[in-house]
């Protein structure tokens, strides 16, 4: 019997998800023993036309990481959706946009200018990439940027979501174990649309720090203050994203003395990550006076960036107005 087929692809991402997969150490041998890897650009050579030649539904499992930033990503998403039985949005970029999704705060022109015309860029002729170019040898093409970054499920149907930036290696190993058991007929797949490889609660629930319902008169930045090592960071005025963030990482950052930045995305039942966090932050402010509330809020230098650091593309508003207006 031939082994079930496995694929992994990266779109607008940093490559950290691929590293996280390799971080499962000898477990990677189980992947090789149980699957035939048919397409994985970071690990092996394969051409898009090879994928196009495969039969529809012939790949059992595709892990997709990265957001949809250009028409090449969009094409591959549709292609791999067609070829795969199970498509997993793997990692924060695919689930909710992540750091590449922060570009949804800026119009496309600004993004391109930042990449090609900053002081540190050596580009005296102000050259811009041209998606279509006629050369004497023939026409060449590079992908065209979309006006805003989209999450995978804004483009194609997604079977499972695996959050994290990147997903924790022990969670990846557990998911791979589960899929192998399913292949061997020893386990059942979770219902479609489920979040896998993560908890169902919030980071706060796993956080060892003490909470005592304290309110604050000032927000501070963790690098500028001496934080109490045992007390809840938010109650010390340090913007910590734990209250809205899905558990699954064992509260790594707050345990190590840093604030949660929210890479595991919205907790179970949270519709808009930023809105939930906004409520949590507003609730620790100790004032009923509008002027004083405003003064305290001045300590949060970039609230939208804080609340949507990983989730802008996946939020209800999806992108700031100047960004999506640049697509009109």
């Amino acid at each position: 019997m031939s082994k079930p087929k496995f694929a992994m692809y990266w779109a607008a991402s940093c490559g950290g998800c691929e590293i996280a997969v390799l971080n499962i150490h000898e477990k990677i041998l189980d992947v090789d023993a149980n699957f035939e890897v048919v397409f994985w650009p970071v690990a092996m050579d394969a051409k898009y036309k090879d994928v196009e030649a495969m039969e529809d539904g012939s790949i059992l499992l595709t892990l997709w990481n990265g957001g949809i930033r250009n028409d090449e990503n969009e094409h591959l998403a549709k292609l791999l959706r067609r070829k795969s039985q199970i498509l997993v949005a793997f990692g924060s970029c695919a689930c909710e946009g992540c750091i590449p999704g922060l570009a949804n705060f800026s119009p496309l022109k600004e993004i391109v200018d930042t990449a090609f015309s900053t002081l540190s860029t050596d580009n005296p002729d102000n050259v811009r990439p041209q998606p279509h170019y006629e050369m004497p040898e023939g026409a060449i093409h590079i992908p065209t940027l979309l006006p805003v970054l989209k999450t995978l499920d804004q483009v194609v149907d997604v079977d499972y979501y695996m959050p994290g930036c990147p997903p924790e290696s022990h969670q990846i190993a557990a998911v791979i174990d589960l899929v192998i058991q399913v292949v061997q007929g020893k386990a059942q797949l979770p219902p479609k649309g489920a979040v896998i490889g993560a908890g169902n609660s919030t980071v706060c629930d796993e956080c060892p720090r003490k909470r005592n319902v304290k309110t604050i008169k000032e927000f501070g930045r963790i690098q500028l203050m001496q934080a109490d090592p045992e007390l809840c960071l938010l109650e010390q005025g340090i913007p910590c994203n734990g209250p809205a963030t899905r558990s699954g990482c064992n509260a790594r950052c707050p345990s190590a003395g840093a604030q949660c930045i929210g890479c595991y995305g919205p907790a179970e039942g949270v519709v808009d990550y930023g809105a939930r966090l906004l409520s949590a932050f507003a609730s620790v402010i100790d004032s009923n006076d509008p002027a004083e509330i405003d003064r305290i809020l001045d300590g949060l230098v970039d609230p939208a960036g804080q609340f949507y650091r990983f989730n802008l593309a996946g939020s209800l508003l999806r992108a700031a107005k100047p960004a999506w207006k640049s697509g009109d």
């Binding site: 102000n126 998606p131 065209t144 939930r276 906004l278 507003a282 509008p290 939208a304 107005k321 697509g327």
Partner: protein, 158 residues
């Protein structure tokens, strides 16, 4: 958008969140007293303004609202002791976030109205509609943008 002939005839869609005990009663009073005010606001009654999850406001904008009104009992008058203060803190933070998302601060309004203030409620809604009208439609649709070529394909001056 500035005050153009198009915006003068534009009728904004405003979603208004009112609390059961004061501001909704104010709207009720304006109605029973047959006061006339702009028909642009669709009211949604919550038990308390403190129930206002910022998600509701984001969903209203994402779903096509041009502006959002949040209304509750006067400070100190809350039926649930102090929940309107919780809304007040959220409102201030939400306004900052919306501004970063490119939604003008004039598109969201906080209004305290007691059950006896039907006239004030009606008058404030009229004022709010006139404040939103010159801004034009918000028409939020970030997902629908077609592929843009313009900024990337820009001709480079020789």
């Amino acid at each position: 958008m500035t005050d153009t002939p198009e915006t003068q005839t534009f009728e904004p869609v405003i979603i208004g969140f009112t609390c059961n005990w004061c501001s909704y009663r104010a709207a009720d009073m304006a109605g029973t007293a047959r006061m006339k005010y702009a028909p642009n606001v669709r009211l949604i009654r919550l038990m308390c303004s403190g129930r206002l999850d910022p998600t509701f406001v984001l969903k209203a904008f994402a779903g096509g609202a041009d502006a959002v009104l949040v209304s509750g009992c006067h400070p100190g008058d809350c039926h649930y002791i102090n929940q309107n203060y919780k809304m007040l803190r959220r409102f201030h933070l939400l306004k900052r976030v919306l501004q970063q998302m490119g939604i003008e601060p004039e598109r969201i309004k906080l209004l305290w109205a007691s059950a006896a203030e039907g006239a004030i409620f009606a008058e404030e809604i009229n004022k709010f509609v006139e404040q939103v009208r010159p801004l034009g439609p918000l028409n939020w649709k970030p997902g629908n943008g077609a592929q843009v070529e313009a900024p990337v394909h820009e001709e480079v001056p020789a």
